[in-house]
């Protein structure tokens, strides 16, 4: 699948279009062509946008973490979840996990590890390094549904925290009408220019985050 290729959203046969939850964009990493085909289908049938790559190195390249261009954080590349095989030649899934968690731009992206081997120390090692979950292969539809729900729930909580903090900021701004006081926020971007009206700027950042989820 080419980078930036537009995904056709599958319309459920029940015709219920009233729920407009934002689609997750998942980056799936696996050296097996069979497994890539299966995971891609599992994710698409679960209403996710999917990009598959065949190695950890290609994954880093896709994210812009390979040192060539530096982390670009392009909005149309925004990845909401990374699912990676553990045993791959070159960079293992564990190595990839570490690199992502070391990146200030991408460390918030949840990473799920897949493996055909049920090795407890390996699972523990991955969870300690910050993996969101560990899936035993062969991966089934129920596994993907579960992961998706987990990720969507986390994203919804992030948005709720964001919108609550912005309602508070807006209220403060209205109260302090003549000279708005810059108040630091923990949940929005680390943009700390005190000259601007922080509330409206933070509201705009929140909008950007919302639209990038869609």
């Amino acid at each position: 699948m080419a980078v930036g290729e537009v995904m056709r959203m599958e319309i459920p046969s029940g015709g219920d279009m009233s729920v407009t939850s934002p689609e997750l964009h998942v980056l799936a990493v696996d050296d097996s062509i069979v497994d890539r085909k299966v995971i891609e289908r599992l994710l698409r049938i679960s209403a996710c946008k999917v990009t598959t790559v065949e190695s950890g190195a290609r994954a880093l390249q896709y994210l812009g973490l390979d040192g060539d261009k530096g982390a670009s954080g392009l909005k149309d590349l925004k990845v909401n979840l990374i699912v990676t095989d553990y045993s791959m030649p070159g960079l293992t899934g564990y190595d990839l996990l570490k690199k992502i968690k070391e990146s200030s731009v991408f460390r918030e992206i949840p990473v799920v590890i897949m493996s055909s081997e049920n090795i407890l120390p390996r699972i523990e090692q991955c969870l300690r390094e910050g993996a969101e979950d560990f899936l035993l292969k062969p991966v089934k539809l129920a596994d993907v549904k579960r992961i998706k729900e987990l990720i969507m729930r986390n994203e919804a909580e992030d948005c709720k925290t964001l919108s609550h903090s912005n309602k508070r900021k807006l209220a403060e701004y209205i109260d302090d009408a003549p000279s708005p006081s810059p108040s630091p926020s923990s949940s929005t971007h680390d943009d700390s220019s005190a000259k601007d009206f922080p509330s409206s700027k933070q509201m705009k950042s929140a909008d950007e985050k919302f639209s990038s989820l869609l």
Partner: protein, 157 residues
């Protein structure tokens, strides 16, 4: 008197069951999982995946054969890594017998048992080709049912 469609559907059902773990054990429940992923938008999904799998078998078996052919200088870890990959993909498509053979094969690699490896290689080659023929028969039956105007029955393995 049975209609053609009913006859074909029964044949299909019986054939699928014969492949299941309770009978000849060619396939396991992962094959049913793959069928869940097939729909009007992706009507040939299962056929596409198994086709990729058989191409993968050919490639990996070729690698193993080449590695085992290095008389006196066999790299068993290389053979083992190909076996590991084959085990993974056979597991993903529900190819139960191929997967089972890979377990034995891996043990032969780990203990550097050359004769054992050669035997396993031969068996794996026969096995994936048998499965390929079986699945081709199954897909042909599906086609015949559809052409006769019938619906393909859901048969869980």
């Amino acid at each position: 008197m049975d209609t053609l469609v009913a006859q074909l559907q029964r044949q299909f059902r019986d054939y699928t069951i014969s492949l299941s773990p309770g009978f000849f054990g060619f396939l396991d429940d992962q094959f049913t999982e793959l069928k869940k992923l097939q729909d009007e938008c992706s009507p040939d999904f299962v056929a596409e995946v198994v086709s990729l799998f058989f191409e993968d078998c050919e490639k990996l078996i070729g690698n193993m054969a080449r590695a085992l052919d290095q008389t006196g200088n066999v790299d068993f870890s290389l053979v083992g890594s190909s076996v590991h990959q084959l085990k993974g993909s056979s597991s993903s498509v529900g190819a139960k017998r191929v997967k089972g053979l890979c377990v034995t094969f891996k043990e032969c690699c780990d203990s550097q048992n050359f004769e054992g490896c050669v035997r396993c290689l031969q068996q794996v080659d026969i096995e994936y080709k048998s499965l390929k023929a079986k699945l081709q028969d199954l897909f042909n039956l599906e086609q015949q049912i559809v052409q006769a105007g019938g619906r393909i029955p859901q048969v869980d393995i």
